[in-house]
């Protein structure tokens, strides 16, 4: 028996070895190596020196970094909006009517398309003489053209809108899966007790979707903090620093200006922040004591 378990251990590790090797190099190593790297001034141009916590003190005095952190936190504001709209969408596409699969697929297409394509389309739609301004002027919601992506006060919110638009389908599918796992007799029982459609949603649907809401909130918080592609393609952080998010700033410092040491320190600070936020989301969702099923 003992021998059997030992040989099983060996076989198991042999199976996992290639995968773990890759994970070690490309998942664990970046986390580990980021720490010593952040204590140096490593760059490609000069000799590397150990600088202690200098990068960290510098980070907290770096005005642009603090702005980028703030912008990333503002970006998290879209998370609750996504959840609400995605749940409503999921309830809508959960109807059993002819052609519903076609609609589900249509809503999912932005998810599978590349962010490059999505960003390009929206940059055109949102241009000064673009379709969005044209339509909004026509129905009277705007009195003059707005340069959505080059106005400091709107750019960040427009990017948040694009992130949301592209991601809605994904969250919709996760919530739809949750909805389909809710037993129909729960609704029947509530209806017998005289609950209307709204009360069904509040008292049956939402409580049972709780694990899905937790999961979706977590991944969208992380997504919002790490947001990169749409910002990088559309505004590169501008105008000024109005859309400078933390990952864009880290990328600029690291892979555009080759300040690897400083960028690593910034990355560590953001990682700690994301970790803390995730714990917070977990805590908030645990309250109320609804068990996942």
């Amino acid at each position: 028996m003992y021998k059997a378990i030992r040989s099983e251990t060996f076989t198991a590790w042999a199976f996992m070895a290639p995968g773990l090797l890759f994970l070690a190099v490309f998942t664990f190593w970046p986390i580990i190596y980021g720490i010593p790297l952040s204590l140096t001034d490593y760059s490609v141009i000069a000799e590397t020196r150990y600088v202690g916590l200098d990068n960290f003190t510098r980070a907290f005095q770096d005005h642009n970094f603090l702005i980028s952190l703030w912008n990333s936190l503002v970006y998290v504001l879209i998370v609750p909006v996504i959840q609400i709209i995605a749940i409503l969408m999921a309830i809508l596409v959960n109807s059993r009517i002819p052609g519903i699969k076609m609609f589900r697929a249509a809503y999912y297409i932005p998810v599978v398309t590349s962010m490059v394509a999505v960003a390009l389309i929206w940059s055109w739609l949102l241009g000064n003489n673009g379709v969005v301004n044209y339509l909004l002027l026509k129905v009277g919601l705007l009195s003059e053209q707005v340069s959505w992506l080059s106005t400091s006060s709107t750019a960040l919110y427009v990017l948040m809108f694009i992130t949301m638009w592209k991601g809605l389908g994904y969250y919709m599918m996760l919530y739809l899966a949750g909805l389909q796992g809710i037993p129909a007799d729960l609704y029947e029982a509530a209806r017998v007790d005289g609950a209307g459609p709204l009360r069904l949603i509040v008292h049956v649907t939402l409580p049972l979707l709780r694990p899905h809401i937790l999961f979706c909130t977590l991944i969208s918080v992380m997504g919002a903090i790490r947001v990169f592609d749409e910002v990088y393609i559309l505004t590169k952080g501008g105008p000024g620093t109005s859309t400078l998010t933390s990952s864009v700033y880290i990328f600029q410092k690291g892979l555009e200006q080759f300040n690897f040491g400083y960028a690593s320190a910034l990355g560590l600070i953001v990682s700690v922040l994301v970790g803390a936020l995730s714990v917070l989301v977990f805590r908030l969702n645990r309250k109320g004591g609804v068990n996942s099923y």
Partner: protein, 272 residues
């Protein structure tokens, strides 16, 4: 409320939402089919007044699309093959074996999901340079060769396989590797299809990492080439629209044909 009225309201909502989600793509299609039109004309061109494929022909001839498509296909196939191979091998013992260190591996894997590494890309860059894989497709693929997410997804699939199968293989004297390849793997084809699809989408759409690793724009995959096209010909809207359509159509077609598996996979992921 009568049933027909409820249907009517539902359909109206569904169609409005479809316009919101699909409208931008349909408009891009419309722009791509109108040669010589400016998307910023006043009033902007929204519906095609005529349909011609000139933009497609011209941008195809100009951009060397076959090459970019080839690059994208090679990168995508490599990435998918690595991911399927590595995540199956890694997930199988986690689901089927009892062994020392199993909890350790599990904790390690989970911890990478909670601690995101914003610095990963910088270290990846240094690693790829150290391996002398800069400017190669392998350099593009390796950092994403296996993901914790895929391992969890495959573990979930392997858990659904009865233990009897492995036992019966052992009775017949088959080695663990043979049991895995001949008995177990054929049973997890749906799971493999799911991670395959997820990775097809991810690699097909990836643009940033390829730009970082590849010095030679001739090696760019489609999404990266598209940013290049957009920078060079920002005035030639029809070309860019046609180029964008060419790059997104394959992935949309793949999705439409495989959406059943794909959506089941997304749904299954959350239970993992």
């Amino acid at each position: 409320m009568p049933r027909s009225l409820r249907y009517l309201i539902t359909y109206i909502l569904l169609i409005l939402l479809a316009l919101f989600m699909m409208g931008p793509f349909l408009w891009l299609l419309s722009v791509s089919l109108m040669p010589g039109r400016n998307v910023f004309a006043n009033p902007p061109a929204i519906l095609p007044t005529f349909i011609a494929f000139d933009n497609y022909v011209q941008v195809w001839n100009f951009m060397n699309f076959p090459r970019y498509i080839m690059n994208t296909v090679v990168i995508t196939l490599l990435g998918v093959a690595f991911n399927i191979f590595l995540s199956c091998l890694t997930a199988y013992p986690l689901a089927a074996f009892r062994f020392k260190g199993r909890n350790l591996v599990f904790t390690l894997l989970i911890s990478t999901m909670i601690i995101p590494s914003a610095t990963a890309m910088i270290v990846h860059y240094l690693t790829i340079q150290a391996f002398h894989l800069g400017n190669t497709f392998l350099g593009v693929v390796l950092p994403a060769a296996v993901s914790v997410f895929n391992i969890f997804l495959m573990r979930q699939t392997f858990l659904g396989i009865p233990a009897d199968i492995r036992d019966s293989g052992k009775m017949d004297g088959a080695s663990e590797l043979r049991i895995f390849i001949q008995l177990v793997m054929p049973l997890v084809k749906p799971g493999i299809a799911v991670i395959g699809l997820l990775e097809v989408m991810a690699f097909w759409n990836n643009f940033l990492w390829p730009i970082v690793v590849l010095d030679d724009p001739q090696k760019y995959p489609l999404a990266a080439a598209l940013t290049y096209l957009n920078g060079q010909f920002s005035y030639n809207f029809g070309w860019i629209a046609a180029g964008t359509m060419i790059s997104v159509l394959p992935i949309i077609i793949v999705f439409l044909f495989t959406q059943k598996y794909y959506m089941e996979g997304i749904a299954g992921a959350i239970k993992g």
